[in-house]
Symmetry: D2
Subunit: 328 residues, 4 copies
């Protein structure tokens, strides 16, 4: 039985709390949050106790820590967990700053703690099957990868300002998927973007972006992002190879089609990540617990998190400079 | 080069005229129609000559006759062709009356002429592939067949009154498909129907119908018809067997899907038979010409036409009596 | 908080136990089963206590009873619950014998207990949306209904022998769906069937069947069943009306398509009812609990159960007699 | 009646010959080809006469010229037609060399002849509908465009060597589609490519490529090409905008799906351009003839041809330099 401390009782924290509480090999032992009332409510819902933020690391009976607090606190918490020798599952990203991410990672490595990042899409059943088909050789040699990822609606401009920009905040998921599915490191990044939302543009960010990646052995990858999509949370990947193609389409709430004079209408994509990745949140927790038992897993490691951030940084520099960025 | 006499220059006659004229092994030699002006216009379009109705059978240089005149003239024309020793391709049906159909067929058989009926759906590329998959054993042993066939809009009530009723006029196509795909004769017919259109009901016919067929070896078949369909000409068949299922879906004008807040909309079915069965009309002519050269073909014979009519008659009797009709 | 007694700790009982235990307004208080060990294991899993079969009705602190024991015990348990004044949610069917079902229902009605039957398909999200589209008039006036329902593999012949036959055991679900979606009582039933599995045939049952239903106002319905389907649990419904059509297709585990020289391959249907109707089992429990609070729900009542059985009986008689059965 | 001279009786010439011959407002008057026998055979098939190459421009009774000869002769023929004052429909491209293309275009403009290029995809019914949906505002403001275009199999390496490279030979179609659908000129081109086929790589070309385009107002476009595709001629376009998305999928030969234990398999894409763009070849001829009657059409003009070539050149330079190419 793995006893968890949950740091952060917000929207994502609540998902993790429920999945931990319902997991046959896990217990939600303890919850902490800057807002004690929020922590208390969540703890009560699942029969856990609460702990103050500054007492969290010395709480007794904790085997693993799930960090779901705000992004700017991730690195600090990871370092505290390293000092306390606790296994960590941290929501992405490590940090928005590459130097801070790197130093935090080194601290964790020196301490020898298990450290995994919540790149939830690796555990979406459709994307998992895509990975398996590629690995099984169904499509022959993988040659090109095509990722489309669109949010239903942009976050508030205040969020955008603190987000690190579209590449570090949103596309980082796709960059992790690209690395994971390509099975090789991109050595070149070219990025372009636009702001169709005036407020986002005024905040110095883009809301519409395309990136092209190239690996050393010549595999090519396209990524397209938008912060707004009329037909739901658009999450699609296509992998093309020498013997064929495998693609994962959107998921829908039902299988109903309605036909009238205008044709046949099927459902829009599921609304957002809570719906689309509900299974992924459960399955990534399964594998975190399995990883603590030394099973080989698909979870993103701290180093995966650092590399995704490196690609996001390169995309941002490409956008700003107009040049392709070559990575050593 | 097969030189054709075309009898009937209406809507269906025009399709056949064009296909004959464009066929590398056929010539449209001669056109006749009760309306000489209509015949003249069509003949001129394709470089043919016209002939009066009563001189048609003695016209010189004719190898084959394509009968596309009104239903009530089919049997008479076939018998005249039999007397003249001409090969015949006749639009369905032989006749609305079983006795007349049977005697006409006997006349043709005695004369030894080639006689084929225009059950065009056998030559629709999707239904042809369905037949091939069944023959190839892709779905194992065929167990059940499911046919949906809906016209976009009902014909005028005046047409309905002369049509012989939904089963002989419309479902006869599906009954032919059932025989052709089942590869066995139905021995039982059960039919039910309704009139959602008051005018059709007042004319003593139904516009909505279902039929169930059973073969001697226990294969079952469902047919559903409607004279009106909001989303086009709905033409679908599903064949279910011990190892799987094959189905032919509707055809559309383009492959475009449009996505918005309501979901993804694809096109309605093609409008009607001229669009859906354009290829079938060409391909059935190919096979008629091939059949004259003694190739084995999928064309419906005169006897196929008689058997489809027999099933339609049985369906009508079942509708009227409330009982299943057992065929010897 | 509704405190439940669960009767029956088998496959279906386990599903209900978990859904009750996880429901925010329900508690799994007590479990009973003819096999005490099985009951004990399930009770322990969800923190419930066990009770002997003959002490179940006098167990304290029980608000509602969920009957998931074998079919032949349903009526007895319902009558005991009626005597004890407990609300009942009973797996379908009431009983295989119409007289027994009717007397049991009368007992429950006299006692005034809430009695609902687990026709789970009413709570499948796709079929629920179909019902909503029909009610909303999206397809105009409903005219015909088309139900296909195929199990992945036949049950053991020993099960078949005790099952009451395909119509009472399997098609009863579709007959309930037909009544629910048609919104009217069928007044005529015609049925045909075959046994492609020799063992099932030898046991006097069919494994392949078609039924045609007609309502007093002329709506027509087709149902097709098979006990074996190569591509999973095939569960589809199509509702056709004056303004269009709505259909619910199968569900799949992922949205992946793989393309190669043979074309594009998408997933088979989900394996069986545990996967396809997982959400339905949760949602029907929600509504049972809501119904106890007097909310109007879509749950099948005892009378719905009796009427579905009446249609199944009529189908069996039609199969045996060869005639359509007219219901008053 | 427009009387055509056809220059070139090869594969594409044959398609045009048939479409001209069958067009109600056109006549195939004359055919010329470097291979007189090939010209003779085609002329005979459609009732045309032949003419020697050097006598073609002085042949009598010619209203328009269709150039379907090899690419390196296009510019010369156009200039001869300009001198002779003939309307020209020329297969793409004008020339592989930008300077030659430009001078040829100037000659045609000075002469005032009608000059259109055969970018056939503009007349594919699915892509035409895509254009109409964008123009109609169905997807709101167009923001991003996504083009996938894959040939079934690479041409011989000897062809590759003379082809001008993937961007000028193959992607030029997609670059024209991008301009046509974006409704704006790209001002920046970034390209990357790989050679998965060793022979193509040895010839100094790529067979797998991606391009990113940006317009002055910030619209972004991705193009992906491959010279080899296991599942047919893969031709898809997706247009994303502020209110939704419209996409054109591949076309298939039939609508059949086959289901078995592995799932549901539908057909691969049509084999190649002759099949996929059969309708487009007919429809572009319609519009060429309509354009001669001063109708506004979607046909690519000579200037469109020059601009597509300019983008292809920029892509080639980007591939070689590693930099994005900015166009004035």
């Amino acid at each position: 039985m793995i006893r968890f401390l949950l740091i952060g009782a917000g929207r994502i924290g609540k998902i993790h709390a429920e999945n931990i509480a319902r997991h046959p090999q896990a217990t939600l032992a303890c919850v902490t949050d800057a807002d004690a009332a929020v922590a208390g409510e969540l703890a009560q819902r699942w029969g856990a106790r609460t702990v103050a933020l500054d007492a969290a690391m010395t709480a007794s009976g904790i085997d693993a820590v799930l960090i779901a607090s705000s992004t700017d606190t991730h690195a600090d918490w990871i370092e505290r967990c390293a000092a306390a020798g606790k296994a960590v599952f941290c929501e992405k990203p490590l940090d928005l700053d590459m130097n801070r991410a790197t130093s935090c990672l080194q601290t964790a490595q020196k301490a020898g703690i298990a450290l995994y990042l919540g790149f939830n899409r690796r555990y979406d059943p459709s994307f998992m099957r895509l990975k398996q088909e590629i690995a099984a050789g169904t499509i022959g040699q993988l040659e090109t990868l095509h990722i489309i990822s669109r949010d239903p609606a942009p976050p508030p401009v205040e969020y955008i300002k603190r987000s690190g920009g579209l590449f570090r905040d949103m596309m980082i998921h796709d960059l992790d998927m690209a690395r994971w599915l390509l099975g090789a490191e991109p050595v070149e990044v070219f990025a372009r973007g636009s702001a169709v939302n005036a407020g986002i543009g005024a905040a110095g960010d883009v809301d519409t972006a395309m990136v092209m990646l190239r690996t050393a052995d010549g595999k090519l990858c396209q990524i397209a992002n938008s912060r707004r999509c009329a037909f739901g949370y658009d999450q699609r990947i296509e992998a093309f190879g020498s013997a064929g193609m495998a693609r994962a389409d959107n998921h829908t709430a039902t299988s109903v089609a309605v036909a009238g004079t205008a044709g046949f209408t099927t459902e829009p994509a599921l609304p957002f990540f809570l719906e689309r990745y509900a299974a992924a949140y459960r399955l990534e927790l399964d594998d975190f617990i399995a990883a603590l038992g030394n099973k080989q897993v698909e979870l993103a490691t701290g180093d995966d998190g650092r590399r995704a951030l490196m690609l996001a940084d390169a995309a941002q520099r490409s956008l700003e400079s107009g040049s392709a960025i070559v990575l050593v």
